[in-house]
Amino acid sequence: MSNIISFKNVLFSYNGEQEALHDINLNIQKGEFVAVLGYNGSGKSTLAKLINAILLPGSGKVLVDGMDTNDESLTFEIRKKVGMVFQNPDNQIVASTVEEDVAFALENLGVESSEMRRRVDSALETVGMSEYCNYAPHRLSGGQKQRVAIAGVLAMSPQCIVLDEPTAMLDPRGRKAVIDTALSLNREKGITIVLITHFMDEAALADRVVVLSGGRIAKNGPPREVFSDYDGMKQLGLGVPVAAELAQELRARGINLPRGIITPDDMVEALSPCLWRKPDERSSAGGEY
């Protein structure tokens, strides 16, 4: 039983008429890094809220580490296991100082104060925000606030963190800091990450990409596979990572590149053999190797 999250035939509707999610079947394994993509209104946030019992499925079941979200007595156990980080960094910081905000969940859970201190310090250290522990939230940058929000979730020692477009309101530097934090939590602490995003380059870092469209799962597979289907992604109203886009353009101009280029590193690897050839060979034989 290594699934931390599993959706079984989940239907969900906000108003009883239109369904926001249709018949979702999805398993996420412990320690996985899953990116969720989809245009606005495709049901990504709804999916996220179903995971930690903010919303309950209309029919079907959502299991978190084997616990059914429909069981009210398990709600807080589930929320302890699955932390959530939202898009707007301003609207999820509750307390007036960074450390008190990180402690908020622990205060709610009734953790004893010396233990709380230890966990707050270690969470802040993990996200690299220790030196800001006494700052007021409005004095932090967007990326810093978002890392504080991650620390606030991390303090609960969750097994899984769901991030709903955490980088949508950030500048490139803040974005990188947040994604690096999520990556290191996944790689070093084995925390399962579900990252909802509009940035294909962030999705390219995941172990698996799930694409939603109109409340259904349109694609579900490793990023290399999903992003190789350039036309399919365009049809779903989505792009592909910059490197994949470039590869597509180059292919269109007759340069023969291998499939599955999605990161700049892949691109470098694919192109570098060309550079070692003589100029006259280069034009004729592209990246054929």
Binding site: N52, I54, F76, R79, K80, G83, M84, F86, N88, D90, N91, Q92, I93, V94, A95, S96, T97, E99, E100, A103, F104, A105, L106, E107, N108, L109, G110, V111, E112, S113, M116, R117, V120, A136, P137, H138, A149, G152, V153, M156
Partner: protein
């Protein structure tokens, strides 16, 4: 433009007064006011005034700031002093037209001025040395016995602290909306009062809408972090009765002893 509004008047510091338990500080201020008004001899009042001066010195709050906090109440002090001066009967001192200032009246006016001044400076000292959030916490703890009477003390304190947390965000937002409206040709700072008030509507409406959206998202974030009211909640900064608190309590008890002693020993002047 709105950036430089500060909330409360907390001045960061690490003096013993700053470090004292906020709830205890709150109680002490109340106790001090009682002390101030129960001292009825010259020695007692002088002692109480000197006490507040010493506490100010220890807190490291610049004297300029007390002056600032006292400024708005000067008219009140002068008014009450003058009224008392003329209307307390006693041995006549000066007579101006039909009004007579008595010796007792003058004395009473002076003492009353001292009392009001000390009262205001003591409560300002509380707000200078305690952040609004600490103060909210202190009020919650002080009122917590009322929870037994089903008063929503925790909820009120939570609301207050969230309001305090969001004031800077909302100010920033107001600034943004004002700029946005100005860039669309709204004139916000010119015209008659009526026009100015009218011009505020396009600022306030989006502000309210956004505040409600924020509230919605914040509630969601709180729920995700297992918030379920005050029941069984613990705090990161649990207050322990520290040596500063013990020392403060001892000093205050001594002060009370002193005032009671002077009240018994000397003749009351008031």
């Amino acid at each position: 433009m709105l950036k430089d509004i500060t909330i409360g008047q907390y001045i960061y510091g690490s003096s013993p007064i700053h470090r004292m338990d906020p709830m205890l500080k709150l109680i002490f201020v109340i106790a001090y006011v009682v002390l101030l008004f129960s001292a009825s001899t010259t020695a007692g009042i002088v002692g109480a005034v000197a006490f507040s001066l010493i506490i100010y010195k220890i807190s490291g709050i610049p004297i300029k700031l007390i002056a600032k906090s006292l400024k708005p109440i000067v008219p009140v002090v002068v008014f009450t002093a003058v009224i008392n001066m003329f209307f307390i009967p006693g041995d006549p001192l000066i007579t101006i037209w039909k009004l007579t200032i008595s010796r007792q009246g003058l004395f009473y006016a002076v003492i009353l001025s001292f009392r009001i001044t000390c009262l205001i400076s003591a409560s300002s000292l509380l707000t200078y040395t305690t952040s609004p959030i600490q103060l909210t916490d202190a009020i919650e703890r002080l009122l917590s016995p009322l929870k037994k009477l089903k008063m929503p003390v925790h909820e009120l304190a939570m609301m207050m602290s969230i309001a305090l947390r969001f004031i800077p965000s909302l100010i920033e937002e107001t600034d943004k909306i004002m700029s946005a409206q100005k860039s669309r040709g709204a004139s916000l700072d010119s015209g008659k009062l009526r026009e100015k008030v009218k011009a505020l509507v396009p600022v306030l409406v989006p502000l309210f809408v956004s505040a409600f959206r924020r509230a919605d998202e914040l509630a969601l974030a709180m729920e995700c972090r297992c918030y379920r009211g005050g029941e069984g909640r613990t705090r990161l900064h649990e207050s322990h009765f520290s040596s500063v608190d013990a020392f403060g309590t001892a000093v205050l008890v001594l002060m009370f002893g002193y005032v009671i002693a002077t009240n018994c020993l000397f003749e009351a002047v008031i």
